[in-house]
Symmetry: D2
Subunit: 164 residues, 4 copies
């Protein structure tokens, strides 16, 4: 069965608007990244929203939950801004109707469009973890995976670390 | 326990020699790639050889087996040229002394140094699979993983595919 | 005689701060760009300031003028934000003490650090124009050069165009 | 009047063939490079050949001469492999029918497709020199320009240097 990839925006997908000299969202680049990675995993991409995760509302989170609940796929990767990735993971873990699914949230510290990105590395990582981990809600960052309630983002270092 | 990364060369690590206008091996770039990927998995890197996998001898394969056998780590990623990756996987699977280890071979179709590489994607993928797969010898390419005896490289397309 | 390169910041030199998810100035990358370009022109680099050209004050412009006046070199390239490049060119053209110098201002629409930059192209262009143009103050953008009073930036398109 | 750009191949335009793991010529990337450089100089591109300059024959050189002679443009940039760039410059300088034209040969040490290329820098440089230099045949490399008979490529360093 294919893997569902839900796109929500985040640093992952930010681009540079050269006319206004600022970072913006345009089309998601996840499809292009999969092509560059020569990915041959069968995936279904869906862009739910394109937002900075600091701007994500409760309604946005419920839309993500709803997408996970309703899709046929049992393995789901969600691209997401890093700042509130753990909050969305919690919303998913506490929702009903997704208990039998493996859901992996991932993102990037550097926009893919900026060349030296961790996005390709994280995308390869998230797509791999989702194939082998048992049902549950996980965050995959920095080459590691964490259960939703055992992780936090260290805002000083930008690194995701285990909560002990 | 940390993950052992054994470096053997392959397209992954080829660079461009601008004086002689050809592809060569210099220092491995795997450490730099892990840094760019903001990888925080504890890893021990060791460069065993830097060769094109078409030039890999039986003695080279035995050196790889020996490294897997002797290292303390039980999870091992091997970066390897794609052309004979499956042969090395077979040599490992048939060797004694590595039965309790999870060994994942991976590589790239495009040198990392050439920008649009699948190397970052594959490295993220291999490092993730090795953390969760049970003991055995695997090939991780194109976002997928295969048991050593269920995969071949399609030389026309450059894609690794399941042997049925 | 070497060419003086005065660095003032601008989009050219913006980098991505991954902790705060915003564009910032760190060290100038002009030296690295010259190295990548295999540049063998003898140059003396000096960073005067690192500012967005929209934030450039009259005092900043006078500092640029003063640097051009006092340096020994007769050929000067100034890296500069595009938004007020023409204003700084005008300040230079109307200043005393720089009449015998060839001064070329250039910049970029995309930060060099973001990979697909016009910065390398413009830097090669500005360094070339300055070697062959007669004394005067010029803007070099989009592969073209303009006398200071015959150019404007079209803010809709981001392109520098001749004023007729 | 527009500038003629004649494309002959060279390292500039080499790409990586991932199926056969070697450097090859496909379509020229000069048009794409001009687009990335936000170039607004009016140019007419023509691909005459796509060869390694070590493989360039006398007939190939005569084809280049003939193209320079017959085109309407009086300013011509030629992209060319670095190894025999000086020989082609000599053939052009000794030919009849091009005396009133400004011809600038340029190239790259690193293929543009490999990211860290000097190609963007050199293209910006060559296009700028050709706009201001008087009629004659020049080599533009490393940010500098040389008259055809005052330059050689140093094969140890890959740098073009003045012949004294």
């Amino acid at each position: 069965m294919p893997i569902r990839i839900l796109i929500t925006g985040g640093t992952f997908d930010k681009q540079y608007d050269e006319i206004h000299a600022r970072l913006v969202f345009k089309e998601s680049q996840v499809g292009e990244m999969l092509r560059l990675g020569r990915c041959r995993v069968e995936v279904n991409l869906r862009t739910i929203m394109m937002v900075d995760s600091l701007d994500m509302s409760d309604a946005d989170r419920q839309a993500i939950v709803q997408n996970c609940r309703q899709c046929d796929e049992e393995k789901i990767v969600i691209t997401h801004g890093t700042d509130t990735m753990v909050e969305t993971a919690e919303a998913l873990a506490k929702a009903t109707g997704v208990e039998r699914k493996t859901i992996v949230l991932s993102g990037a510290m550097i926009p893919y469009a900026f060349g030296s990105s961790d996005g390709m590395f994280n995308l390869g990582s998230a797509l791999s973890f989702v194939q082998v981990l048992p049902p549950g809600v996980y965050v995959a960052m920095n080459g590691r995976y964490f259960l939703w309630n055992q992780v936090r983002k260290n805002r000083q270092t930008g690194v995701f670390e285990a909560v002990v």
